[in-house]
Subunit: 260 residues, 2 copies
DNA sequence: ACACAATTTATAATATTTTTTCGTTTAATT
DNA sequence: AATTAAACGAAAAAATATTATAAATTGTGT
């Protein structure tokens, strides 16, 4: 097998991990034919991005809410940022609309806020936990898309369930992702999830990106929306003038907290 | 079996403990293939986290002061009946099949058993918790149907998601319900859930009813399967000769526990 | 071809996990 | 209560895995 690029290798690691749910550094080294040191640095990076959980000797899929394991510290830390983003997103939503939420944790935060509101909405989502959260509020009609469910992901995957989308008219889609650059648009790493997200983006009249500042300037493996598709870009920190201008040039409305 | 990670091992310990309610260090050492010392340190840690209570030679589930015996006993009783039914259902399933599970708690028990098996299957379900349970096992391809999610129900409702069913070939459907009589067939009370179940029944090559004895002879508001649709009827108590003959007459195979 | 940067590897020092050993404690039995 | 076998805890030893650092490799641009 020819040498892989870093990105390709990490992609492969995720593939293996998704299939097997666990992996050892040793086996990986044999399989991918690189040194263990290299893989450890891969795994370290990937853990920082929340793609997996490191253990001695290997790595496992991260555990998600709903499982008995306690939340990782990282989850909790980023929560504030997600709430800040979700609160701003609320302002865009109007009574009676039909909105689409992906399975991201930011959209889950938005769902938690919606649960407490007195506003009639139809919400379509690909996130299982998002749906479970929203159903608590009887003002909301909650539709969960169908598809493949896999360990390590609370999202539905694949386009099996996308024909539900043909049966509803969607005003706004709220989505997050693993990275955003002006060139690549919104990107994510799970190919199957991206497959579904791409379909979701197509259906939405307007697209709202929910991206915390750490994701700006990064890009992941596969893209599910071009920059031109985006109508609103919501983030948790004030942007640089240059970034701001770039958004303005493309007619994208930016929402971020006012200067502290 | 390859060496487990610490996390995995402790997870397994909890699994065993939850099932057996008690465990000995010695047996664990044999089962998990690590030294007793290692396990003792595991148990010590886990006790600190409140996951279990240490004893000489082993560990037990922690007992909570306010535990109400009556309620939990009754719960368990009901659960046992479901487990008895689910275990019999297992025998019908063959490697490589595609099965359909509804959102009933009996089907959820079946899912829990399947989670522990080493058998490759495709499982399509309308139960959210059923899907979450099954995804833990990588041998299983889990497909969740889409649809409306409502408060108080962990089932998907309505036929929105039923076109996923057109894309898979289903060998067996396992379903429960609120009532069964020979005249009305299988019945349930939630009309929207029934709407989806009806579609599911149509798709399955063979239909297996999972009904505890208390439901036999009762009938609910709407029917989702005629008696003639049923291939197997699984229950938790021995039937009367009359009931048995009635099933036989219609060519329905009955599975129930052998006389005590 | 050269220098520069990025990536990967080798190696050695650390750190973690597991087992072994052994004296002590506990529980069961006489 | 004395005896005995099993279970325990502490600490050293062994086995693995990780990190840091420097060296080697590869790719890039000039």
């Amino acid at each position: 097998m020819s040498k892989l690029f870093v990105t390709e290798r990490r992609h492969k690691i995720m593939e293996i991990l998704n299939k097997e749910m666990r992996l050892t550094v040793k086996r990986l080294a044999g399989e991918l034919d690189v040194s263990e040191v290299t893989l450890r640095s891969d795994l370290k990076e990937m853990e920082k991005e929340g793609l997996l959980r490191r253990t001695h000797g290997g790595a496992m899929l991260p555990s998600y809410p709903g499982e008995e394991v306690s939340f990782s510290a990282r989850e909790k830390q980023n929560k504030n940022e997600k709430v800040i983003i979700a609160q701003q997103a609320l302002d865009i939503i109007k009574e009676g609309q039909c909105i689409l939420l992906d399975a991201s944790s930011t959209a889950l935060e938005l769902a938690k806020l919606l649960k407490q509101k007195n506003i009639k909405l139809t919400v379509v989502t690909s996130g299982i936990y998002t749906a479970l959260e929203l159903r608590e509020n009887p003002d909301l009609t909650v539709i969960l898309l169908g598809g493949v469910v896999r360990k390590g992901s609370s999202s539905l995957e694949g386009i099996l369930g996308s024909n539900i989308l043909d049966q509803v008219y969607v005003d706004i889609m709220f989505t997050s992702g693993n990275g955003f650059t002006f060139e690549t648009g919104l990107t994510d790493f799970n190919v199957y999830e991206v497959e579904l997200k791409t379909e979701m983006v197509k259906k939405a009249t307007s697209l709202v990106a929910l991206m915390d500042h750490s994701k700006i300037g990064k890009s992941s493996i596969s893209s599910f929306a071009r920059t031109d598709d985006i109508s609103y870009f919501i983030t948790d920190q004030t942007l640089t003038k240059e970034q701001y201008n770039n958004f303005e040039k493309r007619n994208i409305e930016v929402l971020c907290p006012v200067e502290a």
